[in-house]
Amino acid sequence: MEITFAVLLWGVRILFLVLLYLFLIRVFSSLQRALATENTIAARPTGLAHLVVQRTVRGAFRVGDRLPLRAVNGLGRDAGNDIVINDEAASAKHALVEFADGEWWVEDAGSTNGTVVNGEVVRSRERLQYGDELAIGRVALRLEQ
C-alpha cells in the first residue's frame, strides 16, 4: 500500500514535468502556425486594394494616382512610411491602414491634425469600407479594390 502510494506520487511528479514540456511544445507549434499565417498575409504582394488620390497638394501625389496597399500600411510624412504623404499638415507617423479579419481598418497614430473618414474624425480604430474617403492633412484618398 505504502509502496503503491510512493510510486503513484512519483508518477504524478514526473507527469507534471512531462505535461509542462508538452504544453511548451504545443505553445511553440501554435506560435509557429500563427507566425506562418501572419507572414503569408504580410508578404502578400501589394494590390490587396488601392487608395486612389482624390485631393492633393503640391509636391505630394497627383489626383487619380492609385497607391497599392499591403496588409499593414503606415501613412505619414516620414520617409519610413509605406505611403509617404508629403504634406506639412500630415504628421510624421499619421495613421495606420490595415487588413485584418477580412476587413480594412484605419487607426490614427496620434497625429496632430487627426485622421478623417467621410468627414468624421477617427477616434481610435475604425472600419473602412470600399468607397470611403480618408483625409490626412490636405490629402484625400479613396479606398478602392
Binding site: 506520487l9 504524478v12 514535468l17 505553445v27 506560435l31 500563427a34 503606415g74 510624421a92 479579419d101 477580412g102
Partner: protein
C-alpha cells in the same frame, strides 16, 4: 463587406486557445495533486478544488473572447494562464495561507483583462494627461519614504501600508512612467534627435529638453540610495534609456545615460553601506564573512538550484524551508529545486514566448509600442 468576410472563413472559434488551455488544466491539476499528496501522504479529491476554480475562470475568459468574436492573439492567454497556474501551485507549496489571496488577485486580473477589451480605448488620453501620469508616478515612487505610510521590510523601503496589508507601489510606477516617457518622447522626439548644435560627434539638444532626462537620472539615484532597491533603479533607468534610444535613434544618449548610471553606482558604493553589501553579496556570496550573513539567502538559493539537478527532486519533495524568505523572493529557486533544470528552462521559455508574442515587440514604432503596452 459581406463578401470580404467570406474571404476569410477561418477564425470563428478560438480552437488554438481552447486546446492550449486544456494543457494548462492538466498541468495545474497534476501540480496541485503532487504538492498536496506529498503534504498529506494521500491522494484526496480536495486537491482539485483550487485548480478547478482557476480553470473555470480561464475558461470563462475564453468563452468571453469567443462570445465577443475577439480576433486577436490566441497564445497569450494560455501562456499567462499556464504561468499563473504554476504560480498557484507554488503558493500552495510555499505559503498556502496566501492561496486565497492569490486566487482573488487572479480573479481581479481576469476582470481587468476583460475590461481592457470591452472599454473603448481612447488611448490619446494617455498622451494628453502625460504630466498627470508623471506626477502620480513620482508620488507613488516617493510614497514609501514618507513617515506614516512608508514601510521598511528586510532593509528595503519599497512598500506602503494600505489597510491591513502593504503594497509595492513600484509595480504601478513602472507602467505610469512608461506611458509618460512615451508621450513625452513622442512630442519632443524631433527636437531631441535633430539637435541643431553638435560638439564633435555628439548632438547637443536645447537645454530645456535635457532637464527631464537629468531629472530621471536624479530620481533613479534617489530610489537607489533611499529606498535601497537596486533592481528598481536599474530597471527604471534602463527602461528610460531604452525608450530614449528608440525615440531618438541617438546611441549617444544611451551611452551617456549608462555612464551616468555607472558613475552614480560607483559613488553610491563608496558612500553607502547597503549598496556595498548588495554588490559584495552578488560578487562573493560564499565568502566567510557573508556566507551566514547578508549572503545567506543567496547561498541557500544556489544550493537549492544545485539540489534540483536535471529533473528536480519532485514537486513537494524539496527543502524550500532552507531558504529564509523563499515565498516572496526566491520562488524560482524553490521551483527549480523541485522541477529541476528541465522545469526551470521550460518556465523561462514560456516567459520568453510571452514576451516575444506581446504586441509591443511586433510594433516597433514607439508611440504604437508604448500605447499597446
Amino acid at each position: 463587406m459581406i463578401h470580404a468576410q467570406a474571404a476569410v472563413p477561418l477564425g470563428r472559434g478560438r480552437f488554438t486557445e481552447l486546446s492550449l488551455l486544456i494543457w494548462v488544466a492538466t498541468l495545474a491539476i497534476t501540480g496541485f495533486v503532487a504538492v498536496l499528496a506529498t503534504e498529506t501522504s494521500s491522494f484526496r479529491p480536495t486537491a482539485v478544488v483550487v485548480p478547478a476554480v482557476f480553470l473555470a475562470l480561464m475558461l470563462s475568459l475564453h468563452v468571453f473572447l469567443v462570445g465577443i468574436r475577439f480576433r486577436g492573439d490566441q497564445i497569450l492567454l494560455p501562456i499567462a494562464a499556464g504561468l499563473t497556474a504554476i504560480g498557484l501551485v507554488l503558493v500552495q507549496r510555499l505559503a498556502s495561507d496566501l492561496l486565497l489571496q492569490q486566487l482573488s488577485w487572479s480573479i481581479i486580473a481576469a476582470g481587468a483583462f476583460a475590461a481592457t477589451i470591452v472599454v473603448p480605448r481612447d488611448l490619446t488620453a494617455l498622451a494628453r494627461f502625460k504630466w498627470t501620469w508623471a506626477l502620480l508616478g513620482l508620488l507613488l515612487l516617493i510614497a514609501p519614504l514618507l513617515p506614516v505610510i512608508g514601510r521598511e521590510i528586510n532593509g528595503a523601503r519599497i512598500w506602503i501600508k494600505v489597510g491591513p496589508g502593504s503594497i509595492e507601489p513600484w509595480e504601478a510606477v513602472k507602467i505610469l512612467l512608461v506611458i509618460f516617457f512615451a508621450a513625452y518622447l513622442e512630442e519632443y522626439r524631433e527636437v531631441l534627435s535633430h539637435a541643431q548644435r553638435r560638439i564633435g560627434p555628439f548632438p547637443v539638444p536645447p537645454v530645456p529638453y535635457l532637464v527631464p532626462i537629468v531629472a530621471m537620472w536624479g530620481i533613479a539615484m534617489l530610489v537607489m540610495v533611499f529606498e535601497k532597491d537596486m533592481g528598481a533603479t536599474v530597471l527604471f533607468f534602463g527602461i528610460f534609456l531604452a525608450m530614449l534610444f528608440l525615440a531618438t535613434g541617438e546611441a549617444f544618449y544611451a551611452i551617456i545615460g549608462l555612464g551616468l548610471l555607472i558613475l552614480g553606482g560607483i559613488v553610491a558604493y563608496q558612500l553607502f553601506g547597503h549598496v556595498q553589501a548588495r554588490v559584495d553579496t552578488w560578487l562573493r556570496p560564499f565568502d566567510e564573512d557573508l556566507r551566514f550573513g547578508t549572503g545567506y539567502q543567496l547561498v541557500q538559493g544556489l544550493y537549492a538550484l544545485a539540489n534540483g539537478g536535471l529533473i528536480g527532486v519532485g514537486l513537494g519533495n524539496g527543502m524550500p524551508d532552507r531558504i529564509p524568505i523563499v515565498w516572496s523572493d526566491f520562488v524560482f529557486d524553490a521551483f527549480a529545486e523541485e522541477a529541476g533544470l528541465a522545469g526551470a528552462i521550460a518556465l523561462l521559455a514560456l516567459y520568453l514566448v510571452f514576451l516575444y508574442r506581446s504586441p509591443a515587440s511586433r510594433f516597433p514604432s514607439l508611440p504604437t509600442a508604448a500605447r499597446r503596452l
